[in-house]
Subunit: 330 residues, 2 copies
């Protein structure tokens, strides 16, 4: 079967069945944001992410510094999604031979900037030549007292997100438009006022340098994931792993003013970006209704179905739509 | 500065200075086979390796099964080189979209074969699309009671290797010749006798599916590395990290009968393959002369110089020649 038929998630499911673990000390493995391994009275968390030029990043959009910052940032987000503390980062690089060593220096400066912010040490890695663009693969090791997986959501829990959604996807769209316009040597945004320009740069920054933010108190959280593929896909992962359903309210999904304004100008629906756009790296979690949190409540966990209630109160079933490798046209 | 000027080891040196660790619990970091982190009374070992199509492997030489076996094998070798036990493997894959899912199945079968042999669990990973050939990145986590680094060699120690050297490099050369001959639709090896054919297949197997073998007793070992880039390079790493010199005896370097015979037919020097050929994944270690071991003694640690003594007793200075990324013509 071609990978484009089975898709990324189909493949992961297949591989997961093949690699079934019987080890008791592995508390979470394939199919969560990070693996969790019991080591004495501590739990060690390990997450790994690969970023490929032309798939995950475009060097005409991002500087090496921004790329380095995001590279470690997305791994930090995975550790936060398990309720953990990031500690040691390992970097594997495949570098085209004609690169200048200053480029790699800049990449490391971005990595070190965010590493310092979160007290992470760069502890090792591997460096080799690549014939086909820049290849980044990172492993982040952390620890946690209590591990939060995707599988603990219970019927009656509320569903929360920690920040506005869709900004990163709109930022990416703006970058793509700018590139296309640059090619045509036109500047369509020329007529925009300066407020809109600032808003655009905020959205673009959210795409290029997302800021992972941990939850301060995770004691009541029942399940958690970071939004990397999009709200609908990532919420579906929680539903799949917890064997529950979910209902979310369209008008409760937090949308930034910047996204609303820009979407209006572009004549598009900002909620679409929030539902299907990836790479926000906000945390999506479930907890009993009595939790005290500053996060936005967007819905509830129910027994089976998965639907959105729109502004007119209509129930619409949702599918896990968003970014999936192999299945997407790229 | 271009990477081809600075070279892989120059780049690693630069990055190492940039990422200087002050964390006490990091016992070994960038510049060793694996990182070692103190966690309670245990030491956790973490190693990461990237294999890129067209650089590290050629899919016209290897099956997906063999590739999977080697992929985990080279990581196991790194953990053994630190005196550790491999335990959890994390797999990141970048897969071209037109692959068949059976190919990935075969790859995993190879990984699982060697994982089972050494009691390793596949604990997680990341899967994405690649536009530029197959990308494999693995992280292997292990543990050790006592960590053996590259930096403990002392003047007066003997130098040992655990198996014959150069077989893998000759195996690779045979594969390249077969490919070139296949292109010319000739079979130069047709006239060979069957004994030689078996020998060739043994050498090729050593390249495609190297078998990592741990040392049973590491109590007296002062420094260790696995031979991945070639004896001269890897011994130089021990000398650099331990700030010592080394003398090795050309006629003491263990060479297999298969390598000797094949080199004779090809009119080439087998010792060259043993000194500069990489990917043998034998262990190279130092220990005081009173150690009892079945490994082959090939030389001694001295204060500063680095030289080979040839069969006529001549002293020849050696440089770290072998495989280095960026600097090599590939």
């Amino acid at each position: 079967m071609q990978l484009s038929e089975i898709g990324e998630f189909g493949l992961i499911k297949k591989l997961r069945a093949k690699c079934k673990n019987t080890r008791k000390e592995i508390l979470a493995g394939i199919g969560d944001d990070a693996a969790a391994i019991k080591q004495g009275n501590k739990k060690i968390l390990i997450t790994t992410d690969m970023l490929l030029e032309g798939i995950h990043f475009d060097l005409s959009f991002t500087t090496f510094y921004q790329l380095g910052y995001k590279f470690l940032g997305v791994n930090i987000s995975d550790i936060f999604a398990m309720g953990g503390n990031p500690k040691y980062f390992f970097i594997s690089l495949g570098i085209p031979k004609d690169y200048n060593s200053n480029d790699i220096d800049e990449l490391y400066s971005g990595i070190l900037k965010i590493a310092k912010k979160f007290g992470i040490a760069i502890a090792g890695g591997d460096t080799c030549t690549s014939r086909q663009g820049l290849v980044l693969s990172g492993t982040l090791v952390g620890d946690a007292d209590t591990v939060i997986t995707r599988s603990g959501a219970r019927v009656g829990d509320n569903i929360f997100v920690t920040s506005t959604l869709g900004d990163s996807a709109m930022g990416l769209m703006l970058l793509k438009r700018q590139k296309a316009e640059g090619r045509r040597q036109k500047l369509k945004f020329k007529t925009q006022n300066s407020k809109l320009k600032t808003q655009n740069s905020k959205l673009i920054r959210k795409h290029l340098m997302p800021e992972p933010i941990p939850l301060k108190d995770t004691s009541k959280i029942t399940s958690m994931i970071d939004i990397s593929d999009g709200l609908l896909i990532d919420l579906s992962h929680i539903c799949d792993e917890s064997r529950v359903g979910a209902v979310i309210y369209k008008n409760k999904i937090p949308i930034s003013g910047e996204l609303t304004d820009t979407a209006k100008i572009l004549g598009t629906d900002p909620v679409k970006f929030a539902l299907k756009g990836g790479e926000d790296y906000a945390l999506l979690f479930t907890a009993p209704p009595d939790i005290k949190t500053t996060a936005s409540k967007i819905g509830e966990i129910i027994t089976r179905e998965r639907f959105i209630i729109d502004e007119k109160g209509r129930k619409i079933k949702f599918e896990p739509e968003g970014y999936e490798h192999f299945k997407n046209k790229i």
